[in-house]
């Protein structure tokens, strides 16, 4: 049953989602931007309510809110602390979402799946937009790989080389917004960031080479999603539960391996 033909779309979409989450998440962890990776999806979720109010495709509403959120965080963050800017942008989007929800009553069935993910409802027509968005995301990261890496690791020297950190920050925020739009329907608003920070954090603590950390992060994200879908299919429990716990498990395993290695190194030194 797990590999029945109606599950094929699910496996394809989930794998694309995991690749994007692994790639984008690597930079989320590198830039210490966990709050942003958390706030953009949660706020963008409110866009789905707006889309249902206007009768347009959910993905359009999510994308509009995600990009608006990215610009809001970028703009406010330039003038004040980034965490305050992120928090205020997030609550504003959620407040507007609450307003939209109060205008429509037909929407509540969809909410749970948008919050916590729905993997079994993927249709063939969903594959093309997800494929285009994920290709755009991965391409953007590849094009911006060097400046992104430099401005994440050494913002001062990146500024000295004439790379504008504010522009890179904005580009990064928009990439997070894109990734959000495409992962939201599959993993759910509340747990996208689990996938974006758990596997990359584990990968980063296991290797210090950026490229192999990026590769490892993608592999761990794919494994997490696959296991989550299989477990969700077997138990009928929400996939978000397995993704959330799986992300935390990745991180915990990474920390354990590092501390085990660390203590061994210390022992050999003493």
């Amino acid at each position: 049953m797990l590999f029945a033909s109606f599950m094929a779309n699910t496996w394809i979409v989930a794998t694309m989602v995991a690749v994007v989450a692994g790639v984008v998440g690597f930079f989320v962890v590198l830039r210490g931007a966990a709050f942003v990776a958390d706030a953009v999806p949660q706020g963008a979720f409110a866009g789905a309510a707006g889309a249902s109010l206007l009768g347009v495709n959910t993905l359009v509403g999510v994308a509009a809110f995600a990009v608006a959120g990215a610009f809001g965080i970028g703009w406010l963050g330039r003038r004040g602390g980034r965490d305050v800017a992120t928090a205020l942008t997030l609550v504003l989007m959620l407040g507007v979402g609450a307003l939209f929800l109060s205008f429509t009553s037909q929407y509540s069935d969809e909410i749970f799946s948008l919050l916590f993910g729905e993997v079994l409802g993927v249709s063939s027509s969903d594959i093309v937009p997800v494929a285009i968005l994920s290709a755009a995301c991965v391409l953007a990261v590849m094009l911006l790989y060097r400046p992104l890496l430099l401005s994440s690791l050494a913002p001062e020297s990146s500024a000295a080389r004439g790379v504008s950190n504010t522009k890179i920050e904005l580009a990064f925020l928009i990439i997070v917004a894109l990734a959000t739009t495409l992962t939201l329907p599959v993993v759910g608003a509340l747990l996208i960031f689990s996938l974006m920070i758990g596997p990359p954090a584990a990968a980063r603590s296991l290797t210090s080479n950026p490229l192999s950390a990026l590769g490892l992060s993608v592999v761990l994200a794919i494994v997490t999603v696959w296991v989550a879908i299989a477990a969700s299919f077997e138990t009928n429990w929400p996939v978000g539960f397995f993704v959330g716990v799986g992300g935390a498990a990745c991180y915990a395993a990474g920390r354990l391996i590092v501390s085990f290695r660390g203590s061994r190194v210390q022992l050999s030194q003493s």
């Binding site: 602390g81 965490d83 305050v84 928090a87 205020l88 307003l99 909410i111």
Partner: protein, 292 residues
């Protein structure tokens, strides 16, 4: 309608018992959030505050399953999560947001499972909306004394530990040199944040708990550079925004498009956001002047 107050307060506003409960509980939660929020913003722990609010909801959804009062689910889980965050390295600024995110991810994963069980066993599918948005008009008068008692605990932690908390927030090296147990102070502060957001998540919803924690405090810190004033001002702004939001929401029952009222959370968030933007425009000069 010849009474000028009648234009602002729609007829029956003060007689309505849900409104009274919302004004009292919302006011208490807003005051605590504003005051604790000043330290949250000073310490750059907005994300921890937001995450703790969401995690307390996990406890709330679990309490429906095992049949205890949601209040204990909310407050207990919040304090427990604060402890876990502290344990896995919330102190180091670099890994702090990461640790917060991991704890939040695991917490929300559990919330998804509990809500799924809630929905399959009790058939209450509206829980997801309550979790994310909450509504202040659903508080019962019975929980208000308990909410007040726990609020006093949260306020007490901040007021009793005011000096060491302030010093370790502003300059942790100096605090260490003065012999202040910085880690203990940090944990106490995180527990105060957890209590504040759990209480406001329960009484007025999770959106507002983050909004009231961060917004008024950030606004107040723009307007004055004196920590004492900023703390008091943050509490004041939070209470004012909450009450004004409730008044507007009550008035909006006659507004389009559906004539059943706009959500309180929208009004409060809009007020707080507007206040922050105004303070940013106005705050640059006074901030300079008061430094002296």
């Amino acid at each position: 309608m010849s009474d000028p107050l009648g234009l602002i307060f729609a007829p029956g506003f003060f007689e309505s018992s849900p409104v009274q409960a919302a004004l009292i509980a919302g006011g208490i939660a807003a005051l605590v959030s504003g005051v604790v929020g000043a330290f949250t913003v000073l310490r750059g722990q907005s994300y921890a505050g937001h995450a703790l609010a969401d995690i307390s909801v996990t406890g709330g959804s679990a309490s429906f399953l095992i049949g205890i009062s949601p209040l204990w689910g909310f407050a207990g889980t919040g304090v427990f999560a604060a402890g876990v965050m502290d344990m896995i390295g919330v102190r180091k600024p670099r890994g702090r947001d990461l640790a917060t995110g991991i704890v939040r991810g695991a917490g929300l994963g559990l919330a998804a499972l509990f809500l799924y069980w809630d929905a399959t066993t009790t058939n209450t599918s509206g829980v997801a909306i309550t979790v994310l948005f909450g509504s202040p008009f659903t508080i019962s008068n019975g929980v208000i004394p308990l909410v007040a008692a726990l609020s006093i605990v949260a306020l007490g932690i901040v007021l009793v530990g005011y000096r060491p908390l302030l010093l370790s927030s502003v300059n942790s090296d100096l605090a260490v040199a003065r012999g202040i147990p910085v880690r203990l102070v940090g944990l106490a502060c995180l527990i105060a944040i957890a209590l504040a957001v759990a209480l406001s998540a329960l009484t007025i919803g999770t959106i507002l708990s983050t909004a009231l924690l961060v917004g008024p405090a950030a606004t107040a810190l723009r307007l004055t550079s004196r920590p004492g004033w900023a703390t008091a001002l943050a509490g004041l702004i939070a209470v004012a925004a909450t009450w004004l939001g409730i008044v507007l929401a009550y008035d909006s029952f006659t507004w389009p498009p559906k004539h059943h009222g706009w959500p309180v959370s929208f009004f409060v968030v809009a007020l707080i956001f507007a206040g922050y933007l105004l303070a940013q425009l106005a705050g640059r000069d006074p901030g300079r002047r008061q430094e002296r």
